[in-house]
């Protein structure tokens, strides 16, 4: 009895007497300590601002004076009396639905070429990845603006190959959005790398068997490569679609929504409302509407996944 008590006490004492090293070495403590910078950062810079923005979206808030609660007024305003909201949604959908598939097709095409073994393929992979790194930068956006200017390099190339043109690519309501789409398609590098990786995963035995059966290159692509790539295509599609909806820099620097709001991206409009017109509460509401739209689009993509993406093993 007394000895039992003694051992229990000893155990307790022992437990208390752990050194700092031992204490830190406990699995749950080490985990929490090591991840704390991220967790704290996540709460401070993601969760708290998100909750605040949800609150602001229900308020009349102009940054300069304290927010006043107005309920759903901002959301109602967006859907009933803001033609620019509708316009910017249309522009953003057009941009995402055109640029993302084009970018994926382009990425796949280049990946198909680069998957072949050659001495320079590593070099080319790096070169083709470059636009993805620099493409989102302000410098490239400004370069793009100059390239598509009336006296820019695009027009002078066209003139040199005999097409007399002085079209203002950025000033024309039907061409301006395409300069942004081309810039987006040009940044195909990260999708390309993912395609490259999964192209290499396709067992060569399948192609060998197909060749024995007399299948041509074309049908090999349609019957073997593409079906086996569908999970990768799906992944790329979801990721790029979200990025497409959130595109900001290019539009903000190159066109600012001009001409006549034909390139007004949703995020740029949101920025204008929040920080140029000081309708910050309304801007926050627009942000939450965007979250809802992205959720729905992603949800639809996932729902249709089993209809076209191959999920079986090899």
């Amino acid at each position: 009895m007394s000895s039992k008590q003694a051992t229990v006490r000893e155990k307790k004492l022992h437990a208390r007497k752990k050194t700092l090293g031992q204490w830190l070495n406990q699995e749950h403590v080490a985990g929490v300590v090591c991840t704390s910078p991220f967790i704290i950062g996540f709460f401070l810079f993601m969760v708290v601002p998100m909750i605040l923005s949800l609150y602001y979206s229900l308020c009349n808030y102009n940054i300069l004076s304290p927010p006043q609660f107005t309920g759903l007024a901002n959301y109602i305003k967006a859907f009933t009396q803001d033609p620019k909201f509708v316009k910017s949604i249309c522009v953003t959908f057009f941009f995402a639905l055109v640029s993302v598939p084009l970018r994926l097709i382009f990425a796949l095409l280049v990946a198909m070429i680069l998957v072949r073994k050659s001495k320079l393929s590593a070099f080319y992979r790096a070169v083709y990845y470059l636009p993805s790194i620099i493409g989102g930068s302000v410098a490239v956006a400004i370069l793009w603006k100059r390239m598509f200017a009336m006296d820019g390099v695009i027009n002078s190339i066209l003139r040199n190959i005999g097409i007399q043109t002085s079209i203002s690519w950025l000033g024309n309501t039907s061409t301006a959005i395409w300069t942004l789409i081309i810039l987006a398609v040009w940044q195909f590098g990260s999708s390309m790398l993912i395609f490259l990786a999964s192209l290499k995963q396709i067992p060569s035995t399948l192609y060998e068997a197909a060749e024995v059966d007399g299948a041509k290159k074309g049908s090999q692509f349609w019957r073997i490569t593409l079906p086996l790539l569908t999970p990768t295509i799906f992944f790329n599609l979801v990721m790029q679609m979200i990025n497409g909806f959130l595109a900001f820099t290019q539009c903000y620097i190159i066109t600012q929504g001009k001409p006549m709001d034909s390139t007004l991206f949703y995020t740029v409009y949101m920025y204008q409302q929040s920080f140029e017109f000081y309708n910050t509460g309304y801007g926050a509401a627009l942000a939450w509407i965007m979250l809802a739209i992205i959720s729905v689009v992603t949800g639809v993509l996932f729902a249709t996944k089993k209809l076209w993406a191959y999920e079986g093993g090899l």
């Binding site: 752990k18 704290i40 401070l44 102009n62 950025l170 309501t173 001409p259 204008q272 017109f277 000081y278």
Partner: protein
């Protein structure tokens, strides 16, 4: 014990994270912590004042030098100087105001003054004027009035300007055109047409520049652009003359195509069609700017002085009614200042010290105090003298008081002016349709 140590460790991490966040939230990327002023003023004797302004490289250097001189003359006063580009400046100030960390002294613009006063962010300087800390006796009452809202003085003018049509004098002389002062709108359009016919050179009429020119044309009709939280105009009809300039200009060919501006940064002196563009159809013989910008435009047009720019009044149906002196730039003291009296002293130094103004050299415009301006006049270079001459001899004899400051919701209306002007230039709207839209939508926005 050890547990405590671990908690301290976590706490340190947390604090360092918070500190990072706090730093990025301070108004400018300055090295000094924004909490410094409060800490140092509390211990008395030493005062640290933060000052923020917008502008260009020349202005940054001169302002810094003037602040350094003040710090030298007043031991115990140190400065935390911050600056930003115009477009970032107001974002920075807005976020700083939300965090209650506005700098002590801020450069203020007429457009934003009312908004900042109505939100209770600026200090009424009247007590400091009454107690003699801030001497404004040299400032014309009309100019002082521009910095006042509802009887309180919230901003002190640090540079007087006037609307000014800057034009390529060399080009106009070579082609035998004369540009006279106080041109009427019809004379201006006739001249623009002739220039276009003879040389192919087009004209830029304040494209994408917000309210400045529409205000100017409304003044000619004796209508104030804003009347409280609505337009001064009684019907859409009043806006038609303004939009007609653009409708006819595009129709007759003398106005620059809006496509040209799609590839430019609006508001950039260096990209203005007056000084930049590869062909005559992308260039303008003039630009509607403000008088202090002559220095910057002259530098952009031609550093060696082969191209000479001229300065005259903006065109208007009634130039005498339209013209005004613009107290272009102000300094204000904010409510977040721990030592508003010390801040008010800076404003006094800026207004009355000749030494200070000898450093600044009227870069923000002519000093508001006529005593200082007169003393400074002989020290200015020929370009600055040209500006002074223009303001004193061309504008001042006929000008009337500036229109009341824009109401709080005007930022969105500014975008509306530009957007409607754009649609008229693209031929999507007629002048009458644009006027109607401006009247309806603008009034709705202003009413909030």
């Amino acid at each position: 014990m050890k547990k405590a140590f671990a908690w301290i460790l976590t706490l340190v991490m947390a604090i360092s994270l918070v500190a990072c966040g706090a730093n990025s939230a301070t108004p400018a990327g300055s090295t000094t912590d924004s909490t410094a002023p409060s800490a140092s003023t509390a211990t008395a004797g030493n005062t640290n004042l933060s000052v923020i302004w917008w502008g260009n490289q020349t202005r940054n250097e001169r302002t810094q030098a003037a602040l350094d001189l003040y710090a030298e003359q007043n031991p115990g006063v140190t400065f935390d100087a911050q600056f930003a580009e115009w477009s970032d400046y107001w974002n920075k100030l807005a976020t700083a105001s939300a965090a209650h960390s506005l700098p002590d002294v801020v450069q203020m613009d007429y457009k934003y003054l009312k908004q900042y006063v109505e939100n209770g962010l600026l200090v009424d300087l009247k007590p400091y004027i009454d107690s003699g800390v801030l001497d404004v006796s040299g400032i014309d009452p009309g100019i002082l009035e521009a910095g006042s809202v509802d009887g309180g003085v919230y901003a002190v003018c640090i540079g007087v300007n006037a609307p000014a049509l800057l034009y390529n004098k060399t080009f106009m002389d070579e082609n035998g055109f004369t540009v006279k002062d106080n041109m009427t709108m019809d004379e201006f359009i006739a001249l623009s047409k002739e220039v276009y016919k003879k040389t192919g050179m087009k004209t830029n009429v304040s494209y994408g520049a917000g309210e400045n020119f529409i205000d100017y044309t409304m003044r000619a009709q004796s209508i104030e652009l804003y009347d409280g939280n609505k337009f001064g105009a009684k019907s859409a009809e009043d806006f038609v003359p303004y939009f007609s300039i653009y409708e006819n200009g595009i129709k007759d060919g003398w106005l620059i195509s809006p496509e040209v501006f799609a590839e430019r940064t609006l508001g950039s002196v260096e990209q203005d069609p007056l000084v930049f563009g590869s062909g005559a159809d992308q260039r303008s013989w003039c630009t509607l700017a403000y008088s202090n910008l002559l220095t910057a435009f002259q530098a952009a047009a031609d550093a060696e002085g082969v191209v000479e720019l001229g300065i005259t009044t903006w065109p208007s149906a009634d130039p005498a009614k339209s013209d005004y002196l613009k107290p272009g730039q102000f300094f204000s003291v904010t409510v977040d200042s721990k030592d508003p009296e010390a801040a008010a002293k800076i404003l006094d130094y800026w207004t009355n010290s000749l030494e200070c103004n000898e450093i600044l050299l009227a870069e923000r415009g002519i000093p508001a105090s006529s005593k200082t301006a007169d003393a400074l006049a002989p020290k200015l270079d020929s370009l600055q003298q040209k500006i002074t001459d223009y303001i004193n001899n061309v504008v001042t004899p006929t000008c009337s008081a500036i229109s009341p400051a824009a109401p709080e919701n005007s930022a969105e209306v500014l975008k509306l002016y530009d957007s409607l002007q754009e649609q008229v230039c693209y031929g999507k709207l007629t002048a009458a349709e644009a006027a109607q839209k401006l009247f309806d939508e603008g009034n709705a926005i202003l009413a909030g």
